[in-house]
Amino acid sequence: MRPAASVILFTVLSGFGFGYLAALGLGVVTPTGGAAFGLWGLGYALAVGGLLASTLHLGQPRRALLAFSQWRSSWLSREAWAAVASLLVLAPMALSDGLGLGWPRAIGGLGAGLALATLGCTAMIYAQLRTVPRWHHWLTPALFAGFATTGAAILAQTGALAMGLCLGLSLLLGLGFRLGDRQFAASGATLASATGLGRIGTPAVFEQPHAGGNYLTVEMIHVVGRRHAHKLRAIAVTGSGLIPALVLLTLPAGWPATVLALTLHLVGALAARWLFFAEAEHVVGLYYGQR
């Protein structure tokens, strides 16, 4: 699949943003006064910024509001609802923290639940697709949750919890690469099943249907992005978890260590998300003899 910058930014930033908003809502950190407005504002900026980046991916962004209509069948529509609901429900909690109103934490808890539901919907947009076997796996939602909670835990300066989540994320990511490599074969889709010609022999592509590219070959048979896959896998596994955990362990706790660990984590997350798309092979490639 083509790694579109807008979707990579969207999923990384809004994932991190909603994760952090959930942490603020649950009261994992309870900043007060100006700091509260600053940190809640950061969470909102990331979540909303990511959502806006995603609209750049649309062919007709002016009609984006129509995406709220199909929540009964579409994960993308559910994501839109969950995102708006969590941002609205968390707003009073942000106000309460900033102005010291002391409103019940339950509001934040509800908002955090909705923020996590948003992440789940985002992950399900990909995980529901049988046509992309690497995504059609429980690891997809697990990784989306892993990235969001790890980024949030680092920024929330949770110490040992952040370190543990970092290590867990790296493990999960490594497992994801390992299991993901087997998913296409496990799906059972082959050129023989795609054409049904397996019943008379072994098919191979003789001639392509068109000499130039088309939407399918550009969007779903994108092989250029896999060129540096091995290096990017190493950057993703070490950057998103192992090195940030080391930074948090060795440097004295405080903002410099937090910012450094978070920056490294986000670099790793971007590398991982690039690969999430670039290494995802769509079954339509079978018709072209390519993956």
Binding site: S77, S193, A194, R199, P209, H210
Partner: protein
């Protein structure tokens, strides 16, 4: 709400005969020609006369070489277009309801006025049936020529999809696959028609008829009579002489 209909009164679709398709691409051209100017058009192209042309087509004809376990390999031409699936994943993933399946005849369509061009339906389709219009930013797909098949201003013979109407070998049959007595359903039953990529659980309406089994290959090479040359005259004398040395 545009969830999938529980039941379709008809299941209109195509039965594609891989035994008779000669790969002439006439269906590709007829499809583009009709739909570019029909109610679903235009099917925009980018750089059509340049070095890297690309554009929207609803129908593409692939070509495969199939090697049987015994005998010589054969070429199979393979038209690929929307299969108007009963369990169409392109419909359920759509966030706006632009992608829908009609309960009356089972045709899967895109309401372009409601399409935001997110591309998720094309991702959900195993068969590559959907292509994004590069100019208008909306998704397009085969309509089973819905503007022909019910069009009473056309002569009755023309009320079938443009691809089938134009096919010079009669490899594309149009009809109702929900009716077991329809000519297309009987073709499927007689010839062992099948679904593409059944593991994707899309329950396609369109069916493909496999190439018929070819007879055993001839024992000797087809070129054998030509190879059995008898030299005469000087060449014959030389041939006999050199054969003895």
């Amino acid at each position: 709400m545009n969830a999938l209909p529980d039941h379709c009164e008809q299941r209109l679709g195509l039965v594609i005969d891989l035994d008779t398709c000669v790969g002439c691409q006439a269906c590709v051209t007829a499809c583009k020609g009709w739909n570019d100017q029909g109610t679903t058009g235009p099917l925009d192209d980018v750089n059509p006369y340049g070095t890297a042309p690309s554009g929207v087509f609803f129908n593409r004809v692939h070509s495969y070489q199939v090697q049987p376990a015994d005998g010589v390999a054969e070429i199979v031409n393979f038209p690929r277009s929307c299969l108007h699936c009963a369990d169409a994943p392109c419909v359920t993933v759509c966030p706006t309801g632009a992608s829908y399946k009609r309960s009356a005849d089972g045709i899967v369509l895109v309401n372009e006025a409601a399409c935001i061009g997110c591309g998720l339906c094309a991702w959900a389709c195993p068969y590559g049936a959907r292509e994004m219009n590069p100019v208008r930013g909306v998704m397009q797909k085969c309509t089973l020529c819905v503007d022909r098949i019910y069009n009473e201003s056309l002569p009755e013979a023309d009320r079938e999809p443009a691809c089938g109407r134009t096919c010079p070998t009669g490899a594309r049959h149009f009809g109702d696959l929900a009716d077991p007595q329809s000519p297309v359903s009987r073709l499927v039953a007689d010839r062992g028609g099948y679904d593409l990529m059944p593991e994707m659980a899309t329950l396609p309406t369109n069916q493909y008829l496999p190439p018929r089994r070819k007879g055993p290959p001839p024992r000797t090479s087809l070129l054998a009579p030509l190879l059995d040359l008898q030299a005469s005259g000087l060449a014959g004398w030389l041939d006999r002489l050199l054969g003895k040395i």
